[in-house]
Symmetry: C2
Subunit: 297 residues, 2 copies
């Protein structure tokens, strides 16, 4: 991995994911300037050897690459295209990488606006959670032009493994599919746990018997142990998965794609959040199935 010593990266959004991602860019030898609405978080980046910017404009000016890690579609749209935003303050040939999880349609709109502004735009949402962000082992699903993906490679590689999945918006489409699959499989495992336990079968033993076959999954392997002991510490919060499933459902609706299991698990995740469990891990879907089955603990 080679890059000009002078490369400066701006990271906008220094939350649970953004801060450790920025720290990994620092560790890879880049100059990193961070901006966050809550200034204290930018100070934590400064303590790690980065710089705290006072505004988006300050962060963007003089940077070769700008990365956003923000909560939702409108945050990204405003930060990218707003009057005080990234494009308005972009250096020539800037690479803008949105690593938030947002609507594919918004990602495509932002890419189009970038093209007009002379900014090279990539959508690059991630999976792997807080642990992956800290360890630099995120899976990064990138949509955009191959030349831009290559140019962003050294920066993205500091945070995880890069897979170029298609044109602008594709990264978000793949992330939406990822969130459909993970929520659905967690829910299926939750249903299986309650079913097995209702019949007095030890679910751990059952999963050992099942796990090597076609019923096997990463959820069964990595998340079921905590589900069986009802450890719902996040991990990945139900409230965030709820947001992502909303994106997935809207995108499916826009494309006229019918997702029956996706629709049901979206409602179940919504119920989990509505009942005040949004801060629990997404595997707390198990609590909901126990409640529905009159087996609440």
């Amino acid at each position: 991995m080679t890059h000009p010593k002078s490369s400066r990266v701006a990271v906008i959004g220094l939350g649970i994911m953004g801060l450790p991602m920025a720290v990994n860019l620092l560790k890879a030898g880049f100059e990193v300037v961070g901006y966050n609405r809550t200034r204290a978080k930018a100070e934590r980046l400064a303590e790690a050897g980065g710089q705290a910017a006072g505004s988006v404009a300050d962060a963007v000016r003089g940077s070769d690459v700008v990365i956003t890690v923000l909560p939702d579609s409108p945050d990204v749209a405003v930060t990218a295209t707003g009057a005080e935003g990234v494009f308005a303050n972009a250096e020539p040939d800037l690479i803008f990488v949105d690593m938030s999880t947002i609507a594919p349609a918004t990602a495509i709109e932002v890419a189009e606006a970038g093209r007009i502004a002379g900014v090279r735009v990539l959508d690059a949402p991630v999976s792997g959670g807080e642990k992956g962000a800290i360890d630099g082992t995120l899976s990064i699903m990138v949509g955009g032009h191959p030349d831009d993906v290559e140019a962003a490679g050294p920066y993205l590689s500091a945070m995880g493994t890069v897979v170029h999945v298609g044109a602008s918006g594709s990264g978000q489409t793949v992330k939406a599919a990822n969130q459909l699959l993970t929520a659905g499989i967690i829910e299926l495992v939750a249903e299986a746990v309650v079913f097995l336990e209702a019949y007095g079968v030890d679910a751990e033993t059952a999963f050992k018997a099942l796990g090597g076959g076609l019923a096997g999954s990463a959820v069964l392997e990595r998340r079921a142990p905590d589900m069986l002991t009802r450890q719902f510490r996040p991990g990945f919060k139900a409230s965030l998965h709820h947001k992502d499933l909303g994106i997935m459902m809207a995108a499916a609706r826009d494309a006229g794609v019918i997702v029956p299991l996706g629709a049901v698990v979206t409602q179940l995740m919504a119920s989990l959040v509505a009942q005040g469990n949004g801060n629990l891990d997404n595997t707390a879907l198990l609590k909901l199935i126990e409640q529905l089955s009159g087996r609440a603990r």
Copy 2:
């Protein structure tokens, strides 16, 4: 694996699964007598070195172990407990192993009837399909008394890997959970394929990006390639998975367990069968999602 040279095993039901299972018992050195309602199938066992019996009673008399591999719950109940059946013709200390996929409640009833008749009963449904049956690599989920599981071990090991999952009925309960998980994950992958393709994203590339993360599953790894090229040769027929999901839903209902995704995928599999696609592989759920989304091929 040691066993008396004189051990005789009866296999009742010599269909797609039963015949190769019986052949593997022959290969392991057991004397095997087979019975099938369609006599021609028993002749195929005779050609492989076994014996063809003219009735269930003929197969059972003189056998140390009786194995059933039958279509559904009533077949097993009648074959086990009927006037001309297994228990009525059992040698002392007979081990009866039902390897069909049937209702857990029926398995428990048969085990109870066996106890009264002095027959040691195990429920031991399998996963791994026709290929696993031929290769002797089935996953065998066994419910029953530990002593009986141990006694049946040499016979079952000739057909696959044995996991003792609990008391009588537990094997069937675990199998039902297996069928819930596999159907559900196939359906989720089908929804993801249609979603990705509707957005012009190459699903194969997307699945490479997803597969290593929490969205990964055996279905994604082993079945998605055929789904992407629309190869729906069974494999495991939709009609059989439909039957098994009926067992799962009835068992969930009996236990008061709510399985929202299980219920929806059961309906989708029923629709696949109702539309005349029961002979296709269960991954043909993808065809149904394409049809629902106005994207039928």
